[in-house]
Amino acid sequence: MTADIAITSRSVPAAAHLRLEGITKRFGSVVANEGVDLKVAAGTIHAVVGENGAGKTTLMRIVYGLERPDAGSVEVNGARVEMRSPQVAIAHGIGMVQQHVQLISGLTALENLVLGREPSRLGAFNAAAARRQAGELADRLHTRIDWYAPVERLSVGHRQRLEIMRLLYRDAGLLIFDEPTTVLTPGEVDDLFAVLRSLAADGRTILFISHKLREVLAIAERVTVMRRGRVVATVESRGTDAGQLARLMIGEAPEPVRATGEGATVARRPPRDEAALALEGCAVDGPGGRRLLDGIDLAVRAGEIVGVAGIEGNGQRELIDIVLGMRRPRPGRVTLGGRDVTHSGVRARRRLGISYIPEDRNVEGADLAGSISTTAICLRYDRPPLSRAGILSLGSVRAFTRGLIERFGIVAAGPDAPMRSLSGGNAQRLVVGREIDASSRCVLAAHPTRGVDVKGIAFIHEQLLRLRGEGTGILLISEELAELFRLADRIVVLYEGQIVGEFARDAVDIDHLSRLMTGVETGGAAA
């Protein structure tokens, strides 16, 4: 690690807005942070990068008073602070946009904005005043929000902007962003960065967490690299490049860069002509008869990857539901390998060979309350060899799980270890492995690499391309344009429940695509 130390010693900011010393945090047997030292200079944009589970979020939660360190100290503007709770952090001008959106459903956007520091006239909530300040903030971010709508109705982009406005509303001097870009379109990312720069220009300090090294280099002045809960280096972004950062993160030259670069490793055979999956005129109505999905005609041929581009909340969820069989399209028709499955449920479709890599593995992909086996066997528990006449054979259950663990290189204590104990990336590997193992005809992949680190991304991309090679049809839903370009043979754009455009793999016009995604093209305003 001498190299690291050499690098670290290069960066010594003058006035430290935030200073962490010897922060250590354990969760049971897991060491999330170990002796972490960190200095963040006032008025700078400082990035923290690291693999899944490297300890970034935990560190930030400690700074914001959401977790309490087992050891170590936090200093704000040179004064040591006992971060007992977020109140304390807020009182010291610290604000945080967490990795998982922390808006409170059931409350309106406006209520969420002012919560904790409400303008009020003798106890009564002064909505007018709040609305006024909200308007001003929105203007500063060049955005428009329906302030009286319940937050759950806002698009992800808007929700995040709302979270940023919350920090500004509180006039935080130190703003923490934990992987803010994972759910944003390229356009939105640019907007966000513009905002961050202007904030820094105001003299605010920004802590920025991400997996995406290029982003980091683009926005941050200084980058701290974490690995396995420790800080391995802090470097000036001017003096480094993605390759070096990746090496610092992972410890060895990252194959992902290769695996995912253009001219991907797996040979591309042309797709066959039979349709693996076909949607015909599918529509889904939401509350109040609002059309969530409308007139969807979409076919995925065997051996083809069809990418669905679009900002979250434009019908992706409903698309997944009707493909998987959680909802019936009305009207509309769904066929799997030529078989009409419009009226068959999830199980029947699973049997016909459709796989599903969910966007949120913890909710739809795994049972966090159970063992690793519990999550592993969900597609096979009900037939031999795992069970006969409804009786599970624990032996074969373990054997099967071990099989997955070995085949997909999952780091786990064993089949009976709690699912919780799997790290994010490993959990994702398990889910992907299970689905790939089960299917043949068609894979429905929703944001399969969201929040997964380079290593994991490479793994998942390889698997998808391999399946494609073997003649599986893949419907890939993602807001990561890079990912779509890399994998998809065709890309369709989903906007407000409709397919508003289609591009062949080698005829994509990024600007055009983004305009379609954001609705600029069709004239309407972004959902």
């Binding site: 914001y64 959401l66 709770s85 977020p86 109140q87 952090a89 807020i90 945080m96 967490q98 922390q102 808006l103 409170i104 459903s105 059931g106 409350l107 209520e111 969420n112 919560l115 904790g116 520091r117 409400e118 009020s120 106890g123 009564a124 909530f125 919350r166 889904v284 109505d285 939401g286 509350p287 109040g288 008869g289 539901d321 069989g325 959680m326 909802r327 019936r328 009305r330 449920g345 999830v346």
Partner: protein
């Protein structure tokens, strides 16, 4: 018509304990806790009201005492849930058993009576006529001539609605109830707001008990709450924890309670008359849910 009128006249009065308890439960629910222990709060309130009224001769002090008693019981109950993560449902059931046990146990020790405490000449809450309203022919008796607590209860409905949706504490209380972690992250002492909601529930339920003991009958009996806490629970579930619908539900139950005694001896077997209100709850909930499902369209089939 006559019977209907009489039923309506009685309704407002018998609804009051339900209404107060349900309103308390509603606040608690919005604060993130489903309170099954309302029964216990009501019982404690009923006793406190009788004791203090008996000692001071002033029923209004009795009502205050009832609110206090409800609070005293609610706070530790809430702390066990919010701070020690006890399960709210079973803790609520337990609270009912515990409080009933304690009172039953201590009544003889302290007062030398058991089951029922009925001090002679106990002051009850006065019945008050609302000027003008009282003189309206048919309507008058229905709205007027009730005890102050009943009027207070109805006054509370808009007040609670305003509190929850128009004030800062209300906002924070709802925030804490809707998402504890997010509320903490927003810098709110979420647990404290949850506790507050439980305490308010205790106080309101306590007053409800008081109306029963010194508003209606003028005595305390260990069995006098007779499941009203559970009806209140049904009421705010019924009203989806929203003030006006919940109040309506409480009124509906009160109406059925009043109607039930008047429907007897009309040829229908008693027990069948008596199971009617409960059946109505089930049916109404079902109808509501189905229409909602229809409105929201595409029902998930999985």
């Amino acid at each position: 018509m006559e019977v209907l009128h009489n039923t309506l006249v009685a309704t407002a009065l018998v609804s009051t304990p339900l209404l107060l308890a349900a309103m308390g439960g509603l606040i608690n629910r919005q604060g993130g806790i489903v309170n099954i222990g309302l029964e216990a709060n009501m019982l404690a309130g009923a006793l406190a009201a009788v004791l203090v009224t008996w000692q001071t001769g002033n029923p209004f002090l009795g009502v205050l005492a009832a609110a206090l008693a409800g609070t005293v019981i609610a706070l530790p109950f809430s702390l066990v849930i919010t701070r020690l993560g006890a399960n709210e449902i079973i803790a609520g059931l337990g609270l009912n058993v515990l409080v009933a046990g304690l009172i039953g146990y201590l009544l003889p020790v302290a007062l030398g009576v058991y089951g029922t405490f009925r001090p002679a000449g106990l002051q009850r809450l006065p019945r008050i006529d609302i000027p003008f309203v009282h003189d309206i022919p048919w309507i008058g008796p229905i709205l007027s001539g009730k005890d102050p607590v009943t009027y207070l209860a109805w006054l509370l409905v808009p007040l609670i609605a305003a509190f929850l949706y128009r004030t800062t504490p209300g906002l924070r209380l709802r925030a804490a109830g809707s998402d504890l972690e997010a509320a903490r992250a927003a810098g709110i002492s979420a647990h404290r707001w949850r506790d507050l909601s439980t305490v308010l529930a205790g106080a309101l339920a306590g007053i409800g008990g008081a109306q029963l003991s010194i508003g209606i009958v003028g005595l305390f009996g260990v069995g006098m709450i007779a499941g009203r806490g559970f009806i209140a629970l049904a009421a705010f579930y019924f009203g989806a924890a929203r003030p006006w619908p919940t109040a309506a539900a409480a009124l509906l139950f009160g109406f059925f309670d009043a109607a039930q005694v008047r429907l007897q001896g009309q040829g229908i077997p008693v027990q069948l008359v008596q199971l009617l209100p409960y059946l109505v709850v089930v049916v109404t909930l079902t109808v509501v849910a189905i229409t909602r499902a229809r409105r929201e369209g595409g029902v998930a089939v999985a």
